[in-house]
């Protein structure tokens, strides 16, 4: 038993020190990095939101200039969506998908490292714009013609256009990696109908990313061609069409809501049954619901454009499709609630965040179909009601589950428990703070307050609600601060977590906390949806090397078939490599060069990137050396 662990450690453990910090391909280190980096962007984007709430607390304030305010709301949206929500969920996926499916790494470890570095650099690239006071000013939706050079000269919009293309490379590589990992690397016996729901959600999301992102990339390539090379895709005066941007943007933009929410719903379907002490009810329906959202989500984008004057027939079609998307969400909502009813709930901190999620996401889900009703949408779109709605969906649907996931999985990642009382304090502050901040926005919207205004006049009935909302935002921020303190204290003096502090059912809890570099001493044979509940001896067997293949000859894991997860192959995995970082640096140089229109620098970046890719491809003989 010890011998196996030692042997695997010598194969899988990366050399300590700065070098390995830059060359690591371990999905757990990369996953933690994604989570930590994305959390920093969450805090920054949260501070941007606080700044806006300070400005809007009272009518007619001038804490920020209109230009600064426009930069703030743009960077708040862009950061929350592209630099926080998507990457942090990708981080959980990176860390936990291989553990949940009994694999030793992601399918393409170096591509995984590359994806992280690209995300990190793209995040720096976009955030740098705010530091120099040239952040984009056209919102995350970046409508043309305002985003064209005539109305927005300067680099601001280019930081957006190029930054979005840049970060999209990271999401795309990540998505491809998840698809292959989930299809080909599940432990033997984990047939597709036994996959944990979080894994299903990540898989669906990955497909949605692969199909949705190209539209956004194309939109921004055309935008940059217009801005930098004198093209006229969006310019009416030369035969272009500004509505083209809206279609391309929302064909991505609406599925993106599900790209953010689906993995979070997967987190809920993972955590909620553990603390209800029973498997989720109607598993097949929940899976179908997940996949259906991923598909139907592509047919609803026009509901963002109901006020643009499109023909009525088109409006009715997209109205119906938008209402339809409620049903797969409804399936999941009732599956969760009925699971709680039939179970025996345990009120842990992660479970509190799940309950907070249900309440909040439910409200967001109830205001959602209202926007599918065309006349109401035409009245209320672009008002604060929309701001309320999508924060209930995105904060409710993603941020509450993300906090649940942090509280649930941090013990696995750090090996230490967090403080229950601080955790509960954090939950109540976040929950109450959220409701006080965002519920009044429904009312502001109904009272006619438009979005994206940096100030407003008094006497319109909006004052009291804005003040309430601003106060709520400070309570919410205090809750996030309580979490950060809790996390810090748990690292310093948290109690040891043990392998499975929650008595959970999925494979990541079969191994030690934090997990060893090789994850599993032996790759388990899975025979049910809740392996640890059905096979209590499994952790022992894994550790003894008797659960399945040990594969201690090199960097190896088991390859299995797509549907039934029958053993097919032993996959050799690469080890540490400097090339992903090199390639990402090359890309960073290219994007900086494009930003300042410096062709020579771009060529230099291309050279660096070619060196990176060549080294990467050259390195394949090296896979066993670690």
């Amino acid at each position: 038993m010890v011998a196996i662990a030692e042997r695997l450690t010598s194969i899988w453990e990366e050399t300590p020190g700065l070098a390995s910090w830059l060359t690591t391909v371990d999905h757990k280190r990369i996953g933690k990095r994604y989570i930590a980096t994305a959390f920093v962007f969450f805090v920054l984007a949260g501070l941007e939101a606080m700044a806006m709430r300070i400005q809007l607390a009272r009518p007619g304030q001038a804490v920020f200039t209109p230009n600064a305010f426009n930069q703030l709301f743009t960077m708040h949206g862009v950061s929350m969506i592209f630099l926080f929500a998507t990457p942090i969920l990708s981080g959980f996926g990176n860390y936990f998908v291989p553990l949940m499916i009994g694999a030793r790494d992601m399918a393409f470890p170096r591509l995984n490292a590359f994806g992280y570095w690209v995300f990190f650099f793209a995040g720096l690239f976009m955030s740098f714009s705010l530091v120099i006071g040239k952040a984009p000013t056209d919102g995350w939706f970046n409508y043309v013609p305002f985003a064209l050079t005539h109305y927005s000269p300067g680099l601001n919009i280019d930081f957006y256009g190029l930054g979005i293309i840049f970060v999209g490379i990271s999401s795309t590589t990540g998505a491809i990696n998840f698809i292959v990992t989930i299809f080909k690397m599940r432990a033997p016996g984990m047939s597709i109908n036994r996959m944990p729901l979080f894994v299903w959600a990540v898989l669906t999301t990955a497909f949605a990313i692969v199909f949705a992102l190209p539209s956004l990339t194309v939109a921004n390539v055309l935008l940059e061609l217009d801005r930098k090379a004198g093209f006229h895709f969006y310019d009416v005066a030369h035969g272009g069409d500004p509505i083209l941007w809206q279609h391309l943007f929302w064909i991505f933009g609406h599925p993106d809501v599900y790209i953010i929410v689906l993995p979070a719903l997967g987190i809920v379907s993972t955590i909620l049954p553990v603390f209800s002490r029973r498997p989720i009810v109607a598993y097949p329906y929940v899976v179908l619901g997940t996949v259906a959202i991923g598909i139907v989500g592509f047919g609803v984008w026009v509901h963002h454009m109901f006020a643009t004057g499109l023909p009525q027939l088109g409006l009715s079609f997209f109205s119906a499709a938008s209402m339809m998307v409620v049903i797969p969400s409804g399936i999941q909502m009732f599956a969760w609630v009925i699971t709680i009813i039939k179970g025996r709930p345990v009120f842990t901190v992660p479970f509190l965040f799940i309950i907070g999620f249900i309440v909040t996401f439910l409200i967001g889900g109830l205001t959602g179909p209202m926007f599918a009703a065309v006349p109401f949408d035409q009245q209320i779109t672009d008002s604060y009601f929309v701001v309320a709605h999508f924060h209930y969906v995105l904060f409710g649907g993603a941020v509450f589950p993300i906090f649940a996931a942090l509280y649930y999985w941090l013990p696995k990642m750090t090996g230490r428990l967090t403080n229950e009382r601080l955790g509960k304090l954090s939950f109540w502050l976040i929950f109450v703070g959220f409701q006080v901040t965002f519920f009044p926005m429904h009312i502001m919207g109904l009272l006619g307050m438009p979005r994206r205004i940096y100030t407003y006049q008094s006497g319109l009935g909006w004052d009291v609600w804005n003040m309430t909302s601003s106060i709520g935002s400070f309570v919410l921020a205090a809750g996030v601060l309580a979490f950060i303190i809790d996390y810090y204290l748990s690292l310093r003096r948290g109690l040891p977590a043990g392998d499975d502090p929650w008595a959970a059912d999925t494979l990541e809890w079969a191994i030690s906390s934090p997990p060893p570099a090789y994850n599993f001493e032996s790759i388990p044979q899975v025979s049910s949806r809740e392996p640890l509940w059905d096979q209590p001896d499994l952790p022992q067997q894994i550790r003894r090397g008797t659960a399945g293949p040990v594969l201690a000859e090199g960097h190896e894991t088991v390859g299995t078939s797509v549907l039934d997860a029958d053993s097919e192959d032993v996959l050799e995995m690469p080890g540490e490599s400097p090339w992903p970082l090199t390639s990402a640096v090359g890309l960073l140089i290219i994007f900086c060069a494009l930003l300042i229109s410096h062709l020579l620098l771009a060529a230099a970046g291309l050279v660096v990137m070619s060196i990176g890719i060549s080294g990467w491809l050259w390195d394949t003989g090296d896979v066993n050396s670690g």
Binding site: N70, Y151, G309, Q312, I338, F439, L446
Partner: protein, 330 residues
């Protein structure tokens, strides 16, 4: 227990806010004053009560699930629950959503019915950051104020001079975007006389926040009088006003503004022919008073940072005359 109290508070707050529909100056969609807004208001309350019902059912189930007494030895079943999920998660939503779809389609049809034959046409053109308003039949051009006769359909032709804007008067109608290269149509109608606040609803740059306007609904006869007056060029002026007119015509004002009856005919900025009769300055940013007007002419950025109007370089005496002249343009 704390949870349910918090919930109760939220619901109570919502009810308190929505039912009295707030102060009278509010451009509230819940105080509709036109047939379109009226219809949408009905749709909203229909959806609100459904949503509240669903909310109550789900939260009731959740609370039951969380707090129901469990016998000490009660075993937890591993399976079951599918039928309830299908019934509550698929069948019930399908029925509710179909109903909602049919109702909303009925309203959509009503709202997009063609204009009546006696409808009056008004063109509104969005600009950074003000509204140009044209009455084509009478060649009347004004800005930031739309006079309409009550009880009459007004067919709006909505377009833009620069970026995308969106025309929204919450108490009267739904909103419609103004998109380059396109003229969108929409009906505006007010049931009773009143001043209804409108505001740009599509982000359009620095002063999106101060791109507001007023719809002034008057009885038809009063409206006709107003329209007739607006179609007249300015008359002759004397004294300080005459001096102000000279200042106007010899300064940079003329490179952007029109005053009918003079040779100022530029169209980059609002038409000022009947400026003195308007209620506000700078797209409803401040009230139209001589003091505000002087401040606006001297330093537009002080009132509306980002506004495209340059400060006028005039001496204090000239400024006073200019204000007298403009305020006299009734």
């Amino acid at each position: 227990m704390r949870r349910s109290r918090a919930l109760l508070l939220v619901v109570a707050a919502a009810a308190a806010a929505l039912l009295p529909a707030c102060s009278s100056g509010s451009p509230s969609t819940l105080q509709p004053r036109g047939p379109a807004a009226q219809r949408i208001d009905g749709l909203w309350w229909f959806m609100f009560w459904i949503a509240l019902g669903v909310f109550a059912v789900v939260i009731g189930m959740l609370l039951f699930g969380l707090f129901r007494r469990r016998k000490s030895g009660e075993s937890v079943a591993r399976g079951g629950g599918e039928r309830a999920v299908v019934l509550l998660g698929i069948v019930a939503p399908a029925i509710i959503l179909t109903t909602l779809f049919v109702v909303s389609l009925r309203d959509l049809n009503a709202l997009s019915a063609p204009a009546k034959s006696d409808a009056m046409t008004v063109s509104v053109i969005g600009h950074d950051w003000w509204w140009e308003v044209r009455y084509p039949q009478r060649h009347v051009v004004t800005a930031n104020e739309i006079h309409i006769p009550t009880g009459t359909q007004v067919l709006l032709h909505l377009s833009t001079g620069d970026v995308i804007h969106s025309f929204w008067v919450p108490q009267l109608s739904e909103k419609t975007d103004m998109i380059p290269g396109k003229t969108n149509r929409m009906l505006l109608e007010a049931d009773r006389p009143g001043i209804y606040r409108g505001q740009c609803a599509e982000f359009c740059g620095l002063e999106h926040a101060r791109m507001s306007f007023l719809v002034i609904a008057e009885p038809p006869s009063q409206f006709q009088t107003w329209l007739a007056g607006e179609s007249q060029p300015i008359g002759s002026v004397t004294g300080a006003a005459a001096q102000g007119k000279r200042v106007f015509l010899t300064s940079t004002c003329v490179s952007c503004h029109t005053i009918q009856g003079t040779n100022a005919d530029a169209t980059d900025g609002p038409d000022l022919t009947h400026f003195g009769s308007r209620r506000t300055i700078a797209a409803n940013s401040v009230a139209n008073t001589p003091g505000n007007l002087a401040a606006w002419i001297e330093d537009p950025q002080g009132i509306k940072p980002g506004a495209l109007m340059p400060p006028a370089v005039v001496e204090p005496r000239q400024l006073q005359a200019l204000v007298t002249f403009l305020e006299g343009l009734k």
